[in-house]
Symmetry: C2
Subunit: 324 residues, 2 copies
């Protein structure tokens, strides 16, 4: 009987067995570098979990599960170029360690490799797995497109934002679970329920990310990180605040957004105070709970191995109940 | 009974029916722009031809044929970023018309779309088509990697160069024909023979490109273009010349390569004279004929519709016998 932790170890072991580097090394070494950067391997682990809900044989989901991890890391590689990021997990990004052309081309090769791993799904499920993979992959691109567009738009609604994070991060978690479920022989209903579980957990997780940036670590460090506030990042909190604020709260908020010369800690404190006045912290927690509850409801309805359902419940709880 | 020209028209019509642009438009409009730039649509046409050799029903190859065209244009999009090219077919490149992030992301979406079209192959052939597509796609990346590396290496052999052009351009032509053949129900032998035909035609075509840059248009314009010579591009001609030259020819050639301040026409004339002395023009023509003959030999052995075999022979002849 596998736990999530067992499945994570199986994924890690399988990943370490892959030989990514062949000639020309200049193309493949960056792939090896990126895949070796570490990470919790959540997506392939969820894929194996999805399979194990319905089948004892998780091996048949192993290579497809890696396709999700390779794809995920490909998106990070290209996103880091687009965002001009110097570091990823405290290590130089590929375009910094090598150069931008390498970042683009090795990224392209990673996407192709992801498809090669996905195509190892058994023939009975191949078409469905590939269609899900492609649909998900293009949705992630759409999410990234919206994310980039939102930076310069001033008419972004909260629902636009929720759709953007759904596409950019939640659908891949959803597809990871559903891929495993399909391979495990799940019914259409159960596969879709797992997709819903993953999508809602993804949304809850991203909202938690937004929340923790402002309210996290207060007990541990006495102050939050506040990078999103400093950068005027259009998060759930800021978008709701802009929507709800009126009068002096609205003008204060706008002043802080437009300020060019300011003390970071001052801005963080001031904006957080505005958030508190407007109760957007509570809004965020309510929305997080809303998505979490939807996720658990969907999971509960799945007709699958009860021990793994419980593992997934605990996984969801741990994901959403991080330090605050 | 279809001719190559008929098949090209069918491809063009099918392509015009595709609706690439959906929301977010910022992601998809560049795809539409690139696909609308024109071109002879050689790859999807060869795919239909490969199918028609063995089957009356070319419709089943239509969507997969477009995957090859979308993939080809994706490589041009990303290559233009890597090469810092301002123009493609006399129109602004995507990263010039929009920006580099758009070039990267819309290119990624194009690669995914290419896979979506490839996955429309019927289930009996799906795995084989996808494996061929992925293998070819990654080989094209390898070819591009070698091409970039060769720019700064001074130990590039003629065989290295031939392998680079094989990967960068010939394998896609080969895979286009083989994809159609597989869908048309060809035997493994015939599918592989068509791959060989395409690969060898691709090699002959690229060598012709190298040759024409130095020797083309002399009759029409009184002079060749010579851009490869000016740029010290490691072509078949230059690499053979470097290998064969000794004494003063070797030192003259090296001087022209290292010259920073020179008259372009003078350099072109001088280097061409060196090529003539070393007879690398004849070497190029011999190699071109060698690949062309190998291509035709492979095609002749194919057990398929004779009228389409003849169409492909004529196509090959036209491709290789351009103005000189």
């Amino acid at each position: 009987m596998y736990t999530i932790s067992d499945l994570q170890k199986i994924v890690t072991e399988e990943l370490s067995q892959q030989q990514f580097v062949v000639e020309p090394k200049g193309l493949y070494e960056p792939i090896d570098y990126v895949m070796g950067m570490g990470g919790k391997r959540i997506r392939p682990t969820l894929c194996l979990a999805g399979c194990y809900l319905f089948s004892d044989d998780i091996n048949k989901a192993l290579k497809p599960s890696l396709s999700l991890e390779i794809f995920h890391n490909f998106t990070l590689l290209h996103d880091d170029i687009m965002d001009n990021a110097d570091l990823r997990r405290n290590q130089p990004t590929v375009h910094k360690k090598w150069d931008e052309n390498t970042g683009i081309l090795s990224g392209d090769a990673m996407l192709i490799k992801a498809y090669q791993y996905a195509a190892k799904a058994d023939s009975a499920h191949l078409k469905e797995i590939l269609d899900l993979f492609s649909q998900t992959a293009i949705e992630v691109c759409e999410g990234q497109q919206y994310d980039m567009e939102f930076e310069t738009r001033d008419d972004v609604k909260v629902d636009d934002y929720l759709n953007m994070i759904r596409l950019k991060t939640a659908v891949l978690l959803a597809a990871s679970l559903k891929t495993g479920a399909i391979i495990g022989g799940a019914s259409k209903e159960d596969a879709d329920l797992l997709y819903q579980f993953g999508e809602n957990i993804g949304l809850a997780f991203q909202l938690q990310d937004d929340f923790l940036d402002v309210y996290g670590d207060i007990e541990t460090f006495g102050k939050a990180i506040g990078g999103d506030i400093v950068a005027n990042k259009k998060t759930f909190l800021l978008l709701n605040a802009l929507h709800l604020a009126s009068g002096s709260l609205q003008s204060d908020l706008k002043s802080w957004i437009n300020a060019t010369d300011f003390n970071a800690d001052e801005k963080i404190t001031a904006v957080r105070d505005i958030y508190n006045s407007l109760k957007v912290d509570e809004l965020a927690k309510e929305k997080m709970s809303f998505y979490f509850d939807k996720a658990i409801e969907a999971l509960n309805r799945v007709k699958g191995r009860e021990s793994m359902k419980e593992e997934l419940r605990q996984f969801a709880v741990k994901l959403i109940e991080r330090s605050r």
